[in-house]
């Protein structure tokens, strides 16, 4: 994860929020995904206008966790979303 990158959700992936969790349908792979609350917060923050740094800070505020934990958790979510090819990045 590059701290100054601006991650964005793929436009073709269908996203539906249900009580703070998100289910996604990827039409390229025909796979449905379910994100838990923490992953959903990170994913929904990926609007192409918010930097990865800002997402970490927002996570820290929301879940009241230390900065290093926030950074680790958000990095794990980004890693999972990248493996599933659900994000784009703009520098």
């Amino acid at each position: 994860m590059t701290e100054h990158a601006f991650p964005s959700r793929r436009k073709d992936v269908v996203c539906r929020e249900l009580d703070g969790e998100v289910i996604l349908f990827d039409p390229l792979t025909n796979v449905t995904h379910r994100l838990n609350q923490t992953a959903s917060l990170v994913y929904l923050s990926c609007n192409g206008l918010t930097s990865a740094d800002e997402i970490v800070a927002s996570y820290q505020d929301t879940f009241q966790v230390p900065a290093n934990i926030s950074h680790r958790d958000v990095a794990q979510v980004f890693s999972s979303l990248e493996k599933l090819a659900l994000l784009n990045y703009q520098a």
Binding site: L18, D19, I23, P27, T32
Partner: protein, 299 residues
């Protein structure tokens, strides 16, 4: 030409037509035993002429020189062939052909592999894999007074989210027969059939449990994912809407027909229902737990 024992060599019979809930079936069988067995289960759904689209099920003898016993060929709409090795496999294969037809051709519905009942006016959907106890649980609830949709398919109109009945006979595994007989003394399971994966099964006509048990179409009020363990204490655990939608997707037979639109359909289904995981145990207490859920609105 040799005939299987218990069969008779008759001239080609007329078609028998049925409407089982929203599913039309026409059965053609020169073998009287199978016509009679199918009529025993579905005579209340018999109609004079087919209405709309119907699956044409056909049973024939299939002769192989090297096979000393009888084999039967089952076709649906002249497509696909199933082979029953012996008479005892015929009825399960007929049901399988019909299920296959529904999955292939009734794509106007979102199809979920599930059983469903309507208890005290509330529709409960039990999506589950084979062996989870959904058939026994549904039969138990019908014995307790619930109306019956199906023990195989939820057929959901994607626009209205109404679920429609396909009240096929319960397909009860051998191990569940004494459970149901204890729950409802007087229930008769005379014939045994062989279903390749499940082993010996019996078919139970829900009308033998009570008169007119078929549910009217309705919206789903509860989505309950059952898992059966014989010694378990029955327990209902609320689950999140997202978990319910994700699991519904796993049990859907034709979600990919709807694709992007399917997510919204699943989301609306779970938003309008209370969603649970059920650890099912002994049938009586499990049914009582479901009754409490519907009565009180919460587990």
């Amino acid at each position: 030409m040799p005939t299987a024992s218990g069969s008779s060599r008759k001239s080609y019979p007329d078609l028998l037509h049925f409407r089982i809930g929203v599913i039309g079936v026409s059965l053609e069988s020169p073998i009287e035993r199978f016509r009679n067995e199918y009529l025993k289960l579905y005579k209340r759904y018999q109609i004079a002429e087919p209405e709309g689209e119907a699956l044409a099920l056909r049973i024939r003898h299939h002769w192989k020189r090297w096979w000393k016993g009888a084999q039967y060929e089952i076709r649906g709409n002249e497509e696909g062939v199933l082979f029953a090795t012996g008479e005892q496999e015929v009825l399960p294969n007929l049901e399988w052909a019909l299920n296959w037809h529904i999955a292939l051709y009734h794509t106007q519905y979102l199809q979920i592999h599930a059983s469903l009942v309507k208890l005290d006016g509330k529709t409960i959907l039990f999506p589950a894999s084979p062996g989870s106890g959904k058939t026994t649980l549904s039969a138990g609830l019908v014995i307790r007074g619930a109306d019956y949709f199906s023990d195989e398919f939820a057929l959901i109109d994607p626009k209205t989210l109404l679920v429609y009945p396909y009240p096929k006979a319960f397909c009860v595994k051998e191990g569940s027969i004494p459970i149901l007989q204890n729950f409802c003394p007087g229930l008769n399971f005379d014939s045994r059939w062989i279903k390749k994966r499940k082993g010996p099964v019996a078919f139970l006509d829900p009308w033998l449990i009570r008169e007119n048990p078929v549910a009217t179409p309705g919206q789903i009020d509860y989505i309950v994912f059952p898992n059966y363990s014989p010694q378990a204490q029955p327990l209902l655990t609320p689950i999140s809407k997202a978990e319910a939608a994700f699991n519904l997707n796993k049990h859907s037979l034709n979600f990919l027909n709807f694709r992007e639109r399917g997510i919204e359909i699943l989301a609306k289904l779970v938003e309008s229902a209370d969603c649970y995981r059920l650890q099912a145990g002994e049938l009586g207490p499990t049914c009582e737990l479901m009754s409490q859920l519907v009565r009180n609105g919460r587990s």
